[in-house]
Structures are given as C-alpha cells and as structure tokens.
C-alpha cells in the first residue's frame, strides 16, 4: 500500500454532516442471581453521515453489548433498560417487532464478530445472501438475483465460483468477505462491524480491513467499528469512542486521541500500545476494578485512576469538550465561564 488507507479529512468536517444514528442514554443490563451487571450504563454518541466511528476498550467493557443494544439483539439474561436509538428519524427502541424487522439490514447491517461460524453451514453462500434480499425486497427472478450477488462478490473481491459453495468450503478470510458482501447487499445507512477482523491473521486482517474501507467509501455508508486493535483503528476510523466499564469516557478524532488523549484511561490505553522501539510494562493493570454489579458513586474509573480526587468519589463527571473534536468525561477538566477549559493538574502544579 503506497497510500494510507484512512481518510482524515472527514474528521475536520464531520460536524457539518447529518447525524444518521443518535444513541441517547442507552443502558443494557445482564441479570445475574447477585444483581444486575451494568454492562452498558448510559452511553450517548452520534454517528455522522459517511464517518467511521471506532469503539474501543478492554474486553468486557461493554463495547459489543453496546452494539447489540443498538441492533436490538440483546437476548436474555440481558435486557435494554432504557435509552433511545434514533435511526432515520425513528427510535428503534420504541418500535414493534415487525417494524424493527423491516428496518433490520435495510437500514442497519452487521458484520459479525465470528465470521467463521456466522454462516449457516447447510445453506449455499448465494442462498444466504439471496434470502436477505428476498425477505426485504420480495421474490426476484433467478437471473437478476444471481447477477446482483455476483456484483456484490466482485465489490468485495470474491470469485464467482463460490456462488454455489457451502461455508465449510471457504477460508476464514473469504467467509469474512461474504459477510461484508452480505452487509452491503441492501445498501444500509449504518454498518456495525463487531471485531470483524479479530479472528483473522494479520495479513488477511489487513486485506479484509482494506476491503471494508473500500466498500465503505464506495457506498458512503456510515460505520461503527468495534475492536481493541488500536493500530488498526488508527488507520480505519475517523473518530474513536473509548469505553470503560459500560461508559464512554472519551470521544475524539483519531489524531487528538492518539497525540493528546484527554481521559486518564485513554492516556493509559495509548501508552500501552506496544512499540517496536521500547519495551514497556502494561500500565493499565494498576489498581483494582470495581464489581460491575455495584459500581462506585462518582467517576467509573476512580479505582484505577492515577489522578483520582475527592470529587471523583461522589460526583459523576460531566462531558467536557476540552478542544475541538474531543469530548472527555473527567473532573480533571473544568469548563470556565468564558468557555475555555482548564486542566486542574496545571493549577495544582502552578498555583
């Protein structure tokens, strides 16, 4: 690759674009005998037209649950407690089952986490793309549908000979491309890619990521990419939302997050990205995590935060825009009356 595969220009202009997906106060809890696990505990974010938003965080922070909450695919013991998911000027959470079913895939598609097992083993590849097209658009002539599916294959770089094959006859990378082809079959507004490349080796991962990006650019679709590979994220997305224990603690443009991470957790996360030139210990392991059933009052990150203050133990930090394209939920940043933001640490060291 001679050119970088990301497109940063959109970062500067996204705020002028239309909002395609607006998530407000989404809460998803899992019921356990000892009380609810607060997997996603009130997240808010907007997804703009044509942008790719990365959702990162450590395992178990609720990023996949958040995606499933948006897709309305939470199954018991999980449940959506509250929130709104606005897509194409209607709230997905207030819809009947049938209304929701009609919007699935036509407006909101998924590239699944485990592409290896995401295809029905007893159906031909073509049949699995055909069924979603025909469910939403009605029955089609055999020739038309074949032409359309082969066109989709071409877009994701799949050979036409897999048309009549079964999933077990395909490699992992090919299956993942089939999933991408399937996701774009109905030209949705938003695609959620849930760790879609995690299970692949780095070479295939890169090829699949490039395919995803190319397809995204060609269609102008908005995308939410979930993952924990910060390196891949840096190349693929326009903005990143950092999640910690069911909360979004920071949303920022890729450059802002990588060069000037605002939230202490983001800082630790960026510092922990492995580097070739130096070996460094993983800082994030310091401190203890709280019980996800019973989070402490105040800031969610207080138990592991190196800068924890009294205020953090009682008051939940508001979201503060510390600089353009960067919003952080942390008491370290105080918005002044004139609209400027100061870092409390600066006051402490320079009185």
């Amino acid at each position: 690759m001679s050119q970088p595969i990301n497109n940063r220009s959109i970062t500067e202009t996204y705020e002028n674009k239309d909002v395609v997906l607006d998530v407000k106060g989404l809460r998803v809890y899992y019921e356990t005998p000892k009380g609810d696990v607060l997997a996603v505990d009130g997240i808010d974010f907007k997804l703009y037209e044509g942008e790719t938003l990365g959702l990162v965080g450590e395992s178990g922070c609720g990023k996949s649950t958040a995606a499933m909450g948006i897709l309305q695919l939470i199954t018991p013991p999980g449940r959506i407690v509250s929130g709104e998911v606005w897509l194409d000027s209607s709230n997905l959470l207030a819809m009947s089952e049938e209304e929701l079913r009609q919007r699935r895939w036509t407006k909101l598609a998924l590239i699944p986490q485990g592409a290896m097992n995401s295809l029905n083993p007893t159906m031909r590849i073509s049949a699995q793309i055909r069924d979603v097209i025909e469910t939403h658009e009605g029955r089609k002539r055999g020739d038309d549908i074949k032409e359309r599916i082969l066109e989709l294959f071409k877009m994701v770089g799949l050979p036409g000979r897999i048309y009549d094959m079964y999933p077990h006859e395909l490699s992992g990378g090919m299956k993942q491309r089939v999933c991408i082809a399937m996701a774009i079959a109905l030209d949705p507004m938003v695609i959620i890619a849930d760790e879609s490349t995690s299970a692949l080796d780095v070479v295939v991962q890169r090829v699949v990521a490039q395919t995803m990006l190319r397809v995204k650019e060609a269609l102008g679709v908005s995308m939410i990419m979930i993952g924990h590979d910060m390196g891949l994220m840096a190349q693929m997305v326009n903005r990143i939302a950092v999640m910690y224990a069911g909360h979004i603690v920071e949303i920022a443009g890729v450059e802002e997050l990588f060069y000037k991470p605002g939230h202490p957790y983001s800082q630790l996360l960026i510092e922990s990205v492995p580097s070739l030139t130096e070996r460094k210990p993983l800082k994030i392991t310091e401190g203890i995590t709280h019980d996800p059933r019973n989070p402490p009052p105040g800031c969610i990150f207080q138990l592991r935060c190196p800068f924890v203050m009294d205020e953090c133990r009682s008051v939940e930090p508001p979201i503060v825009e510390i600089r353009p394209h960067q919003q952080v939920a942390c008491h370290l940043y105080k918005e002044q009356e004139d609209g400027s933001v100061i870092d409390v640490r600066d006051i402490a060291t320079n009185p």
Binding site: G114, S118, N120, D131, V132, T135
Partner: protein, 336 residues
C-alpha cells in the same frame, strides 16, 4: 454432493455384508451353546400331548440325520451360511411342514408396516414438538403442555401397551384387543380390510409412539437450544429474516442432522421394543413369531427371524448412511 462415488458405495456395502455375516455366525453359535436340543424338545412335546411316542429314539435319530445334525460343526456351519445366502431357513420344527421362509413371509409385512408407520410418526412428532418447545415464538401454554405429554417416555413400551389396552379396549371398547385384522374379513385391497388393519394397528403403533416420541422431542429441543446460541443465528436475526423462516431454514435444518444419526443408531432398539408390543397385542408380526419360536425352542425359526430382522436393520442403517451426505453438505462420501 452429486452421485455416490463407487468406492464409497463398495466400502459401505462391504460393511453391510460383514455385519450380516457376523450376525449370522452369532445367531448360529448361540443356540448351540445353549442347553436343550430342539428335536428332543419336540418329542417331549409330542409325548406330553399324546402320552407315549413309539420308537422316539428312531425318530430322533432319523430327524437328526435329516437335518444334518450328525455332521461335524464346521460342515454344518458352511452349509448354514450357504442356506442363509439363499434365504433358505429350513423347516419350522414346531409347525413342521411349514418352512421358516413361509412364516417370515407372512409376518414380515405386518411388522415392517407397523414399524415404518410408528417410527415415522414418532420421529416427525417428536422432532416437531422438540422444535416447537425451543422456539422463542411458541405460546407459553404449549411449553407447559408438551412436557406433560412426555410422561410416557419414562415407562417401557410393554406397560404403555397394557395401559392402552386397558383404557381403550377393555374400558372404552374403542379398539379390538388383539390380532392384526378381524377374522371374518378377507385380506386384500378392500376398504373393509384396510379399515380393520388400521383399527387393529392403532394401539400397537400408539404404544411405540407414546413411549419414544419424548426421546426425540428432548433431543431436538437440546439441539435447537445449542443452535440458538450459534453465531449464524445471531446474524440471521440481525438480517431481519422472518421468524418462521429462521425456525425451519436455520434452526430445524441444522438441528435435525444429529437426530437422523440417532435414528440410525437406535433403529435396532426400536425393533426389539416392537417385538414385545406385538406379543401383547397378539399382532401377527415377527415379534409374535419370535416369541412362539423361543417358547417352542424352534431353533430354525429363531435363526431365520433374527437374521431377517438384522438384515432389515442393517439395510435401514445403510440407507441412512448413503443419503446422509445429501442432507449434510459438510459430509462428503468417504472424505477426501
């Protein structure tokens, strides 16, 4: 997929014939290890009915000579195998001039018919109920009713048969107590005969169905729940496919595969369960013939009927094996 490759077919047929050969050998060996001698037993029976049989020693000797029982065992064994190949099972010792083949020819259609219908209904009903039980869109009422209907699963088929006989034949008098059809009816393709056969076959079939459909239902339910958690189910729901389409094309289609394997494995058990049921209803099938033969120490009939049942079961398993790759695309004939 496509046509069955020749070498796979040959290998599978080889296993089929090996099974039958081994079965034939065991069937031949076991009665010769067991105490008792059929000819002496028959003379004893004659003595019991007639009081005294003249020259019984000569009769025994003569018959032993005639049936070749004085030859060395290896000679008897080879002759036996040759006879089995030509489906010549000899004469019934208890009903002397009748050949075993004639007895089997009379009984086999009844057993096959009853078994085929009972197993098909059991398999369909069981899997249907199991699928319904696991499906999220099923009304709650059904989910409570179906397990209640499965109490019969925990009792043996003979008890179910007695229970059904008592309720429906004795108390309610809806169905006949015994037999395969009414005595006055002439067998043939007439409505009266067919009606009579159905009437007589209902309770025996029902006792097989009642005790075994729960087995299939529970197995199916378990498979459906496993598949519910598969990644492809997750994607199917995200695709917004219709609930019923997901049920049959994604869930049942995949859940039924291990059930078909289980059917091939349990076929033998089903046959043996049927034998007892047939006896209770005095149904003119293989079960009754085998039971009579055991009582009479009628070796030739035991050998012949057991052999035919084994051949039938092995054939059914062979057929399931040969069609399985057509149902599951992941299984190719004989691998690569």
């Amino acid at each position: 997929m496509g046509p069955i490759p020749r070498n796979y077919l040959m290998r599978r047929l080889g296993i089929f014939f090996l099974t039958i050969f081994l079965a034939a050998t065991i069937i031949w060996l076991i009665p010769r290890l067991a105490p008792g001698d059929p000819i002496t037993a028959m003379i004893d029976r004659m003595t019991r009915t007639a009081g005294y049989v003249e020259n019984s020693d000569i009769i025994i000797e003569g018959w032993k000579e005639r049936f070749g029982l004085n030859d060395p065992l290896p000679v008897q064994y080879v002759r036996y195998l040759g006879n089995m190949l030509t489906l010549d099972f000899g004469y019934s010792l208890a009903y002397f001039p009748t050949t075993v083949s004639q007895l089997i020819a009379q009984a086999l259609p009844w057993t096959l018919g009853l078994l085929l219908i009972a197993v098909t209904i059991t398999f369909l009903i069981g899997n249907f109920l199991g699928a319904i039980l696991a499906w999220s869109s099923t009304p709650r009422l059904f989910k409570y009713l179906i397990p209640a209907a499965m109490i019969f699963t925990s009792i043996p088929s003979i008890l179910a048969a007695l229970f059904l006989l008592y309720i429906f034949s004795f108390l309610l008098n809806w169905f006949p107590m015994l037999g395969s059809y009414e005595l006055g009816v002439t067998p043939g393709l007439n409505l009266e005969f067919i009606g009579s056969v159905i009437k007589h076959g209902t309770l025996p079939a029902l006792s097989v169905i009642l005790v075994s459909f729960g087995y299939w239902a529970l197995g199916m339910r378990g498979m459906m729940i496993t598949i519910e958690g598969e990644d492809y189910m997750h994607l199917a729901r995200a695709k917004g496919l219709k609930s019923f389409y997901i049920l049959y094309r994604y869930m049942v289609r995949n859940a039924i595969l291990p059930q078909i394997t289980a059917l091939a494995i349990t076929l033998g058990t089903l046959v043996s369960g049927q034998i007892l049921v047939e006896y209770i209803f005095a149904y003119k099938g293989m079960g009754t013939v085998i039971y009579d033969a055991i009582l009479n120490q009628d070796f030739a009939v035991i050998q012949g009927t057991s052999f035919m049942l084994i051949v039938m079961t092995a054939m059914a398993v062979l057929i399931i094996d040969l069609i399985y790759p057509l149902i599951d695309p992941r299984i190719s004939h004989g691998g690569k």
